[in-house]
């Protein structure tokens, strides 16, 4: 076998792992869209905010230090302690759940029964608010996020596979990517189990299916919204950790939401398996395209490939791979 064959496999493996990371972001969108019909533009900013909160907590940063300093002329910066990673993650999760409560209380509650476009606009507002609020709370500098996951290429794998073919230097797989994949898969599996086998999971599916019927069996929509936004906050936290650990916690982190869009178009807005498979297709597709065709057309195809693929899908299967069929009654 030739070296090219193994390099192709490496590209596919890396594509799959990147794809899982895309799926993670897309998953947050799907959760909220299914339960409340809201396309949550703020999902990416939620991931950024969650990651910022995590770093801030870990480092014992004083929230709003900059604001307080400006008003009172103090020189606050840090509490002077460091919170262990695990505890900080729990606390950050707590913040995201609190955030879900606030969103329900101050936004969703007042916009019940409005057109989806109105709710969408509200989430755009929310996104910009959170972006500014996050900066105000934790500062806008680029932060390094270290949750103790190994980084860099896996040396063992590289050495073990070196020389499998002439001119092949072994598989290069990033440790962090591997861990991210394992965690994302575990997260998705537990979300699916939760929604299938628990009372709340059933209620989530019920609300996604038919609001009125859900009310009539005693399910409170408002409670479900809080739960769904909390779950989306949790997913955002995990996505924020993975992407933050990879490329630092900074504004551009919130732009991963844009990568989730083609994933959603491919997988369908209402399907959790769709988000997973869609992410993988995009991940593998863009890496393979870059590897095989990129060199002939000047490279940097990863920036646009996903969108073109999504466009093609929109033409032939507008409901996505797994989305519910769109039937318009006349």
């Amino acid at each position: 076998m030739s070296a090219n064959f193994f390099y192709t496999i490496e590209v596919i493996a890396n594509g799959l792992m990147t794809g899982v990371m895309y799926s993670l972001v897309a998953l947050g969108f799907v959760l909220i869209f299914k339960a409340s019909g809201v396309f949550n533009y703020a999902q990416g900013v939620m991931a950024l905010f969650a990651a910022m909160t995590l770093v801030g907590l870990q480092n014992g940063q004083i929230p709003f230090a900059h604001l307080i300093n400006t008003i009172f002329g103090t020189h606050l910066d840090k509490f002077g302690w460091e919170v262990p990673t695990f505890l900080a993650i729990i606390l950050a999760l707590g913040v995201m759940i609190g955030f879900a409560f606030l969103v329900e209380r101050y936004i969703l509650k007042h916009l019940v029964n409005q057109d989806p476009i109105i709710l969408f606009m509200a989430t755009i507002g929310l996104a910009y608010f959170m972006e500014g609020f996050g900066d105000l709370m934790w500062g806008s500098d680029i932060k390094k996020l270290d949750v103790g996951l190994p980084q860099g290429g896996n040396v063992w794998l590289e050495n073990a596979t070196e020389g499998w073919a002439n001119g092949f230097y072994g598989f290069y797989i990033d440790n962090l990517d591997m861990w991210a994949t394992v965690i994302a898969v575990a997260l998705v599996a537990s979300l699916i189990a939760f929604s299938n086998y628990t009372k709340t999971g059933r209620a989530l599916r019920a609300v996604a299916d038919d609001n009125q019927a859900a009310l009539s069996v005693g399910i409170s929509l408002r409670k479900i919204w809080v739960i769904v936004w909390s779950l989306a906050g949790f997913v955002a936290l995990v996505a924020g950790i993975m992407w933050g650990a990879k490329s630092g916690v900074q504004f551009s982190l919130s732009l991963i939401a844009l990568k989730a869009l083609p994933v959603l178009m491919l997988g369908g807005f209402t399907s959790i398996p769709g988000a997973i498979v869609g992410g993988m297709i995009i991940g593998v597709g863009e890496k393979l395209f870059e590897f095989a065709i990129g060199p002939y057309i000047g490279g940097a195809t990863e920036n646009w490939f996903a969108y073109v693929l999504a466009l093609i899908f929109l033409v032939f299967r507008p409901q996505g791979l797994f989305g519910e069929k769109i039937i318009e009654r006349v």
Binding site: A193, F194, Y197, T198, K199, T200, G201, R202, A203, R205, A206, D209, D210, Q212, A213, A214, L215, S216, V217, G218, I219, S220, L221, I227, E324
Partner: protein, 272 residues
């Protein structure tokens, strides 16, 4: 409590108790349109109470008032001898009022079993933490409620479709699953919105039998809406007749059948 509170025994030996639900002078308006005007009636414990009337009489609106989808502008609703404050539909469900819908409102992507399990929602109390842990209280509770649901499934003879997504079931069976979901809640009051609409004769007979059996075996109080007079007269203890948002008759099927206003409404005599 009040003068009508005594219980009585029906011809077929069932005991009808005190009123479970009392509607007092209910008026419901949508903008300038009056859907229900000044209607009072009660539903007694253990009885099958029908609300009938031609299309557009306000029957479904009445059911929606009872279950909290609509809030009347005037009038009082008394449930189990207490005046009910305006409530959300899910709170009313928690109080023990379950319902079905005219156009079937099932969770189409979920299996028959899961649909009926959602009927147990108000009876399941473990919190999110234990549900996430799964082992322990949540699993025990799930199994207990599952037993009740299996009992309902046996009762309605739908074992064969337990795992089928309900969206794929024929209309008659969907109606039955929806009844099952309401039954699983073990409601104090069961509201059925046109349980036999769109059914063929055979399906109607099945449904009538289930309604009678539910009432007989579990003593469930049932209020049902129909515009098919025939079936209703056979199975209900007392009947309210509505026309153009007004009550034009109330009493046993025989009384109602001989009421001139009711006959006029059904034969389409011109209103003044």
């Amino acid at each position: 409590m009040n003068a009508t509170a005594e219980s009585y025994v029906t011809e077929d030996g069932r005991t009808i108790g005190a009123p479970v639900l009392e509607m007092k002078n209910i008026t419901l308006k949508f903008g300038g349109v009056t859907a229900i005007s000044d209607i009072s009636f009660d539903i007694r414990e253990g009885e099958i109470r029908a609300i009938i009337g031609p299309n557009g009489a306000g029957k479904s609106s009445m059911l929606n008032v009872i279950n909290g989808f609509y809030h009347p502008q005037e009038g009082e609703i008394w449930f189990h001898g207490e005046k009910r404050a305006p409530m959300k539909p899910y709170q009313i469900a928690q109080q023990g009022i379950a319902r079905t819908f005219q156009n079937i409102a099932l969770f189409k992507g979920m299996s028959t079993l899961d649909n009926i399990m959602t009927g147990r929602f108000t009876h399941m109390k473990t919190n999110m933490f234990w549900q996430a842990v799964w082992k322990g209280p949540a699993e025990r509770e799930e199994n207990e409620n599952r037993d009740i649901v299996e009992h309902v499934i046996d009762f309605l003879e739908i074992q064969a479709i337990r795992k089928t997504p309900v969206g794929r079931l024929p209309y008659g069976l969907q109606k039955r699953v929806e009844l099952g979901r309401a039954l699983a809640a073990q409601p104090k009051l069961l509201l059925l919105d046109e349980p036999m609409a769109g059914m063929n004769v055979e399906e109607k007979e099945d449904m009538s039998r289930f309604i009678l059996d539910v009432n007989d075996e579990f003593g469930t109080t049932i209020a049902l809406i129909e515009h098919d007079m025939g079936v209703v007269m056979d199975i209900s203890d007392r009947v309210v007749v509505m026309d153009y948002g007004k009550k034009i008759g109330d009493g046993t099927p025989d009384e109602v059948r001989n009421n001139q206003d009711v006959i006029d409404a059904y034969l389409g005599v011109a209103h003044d």
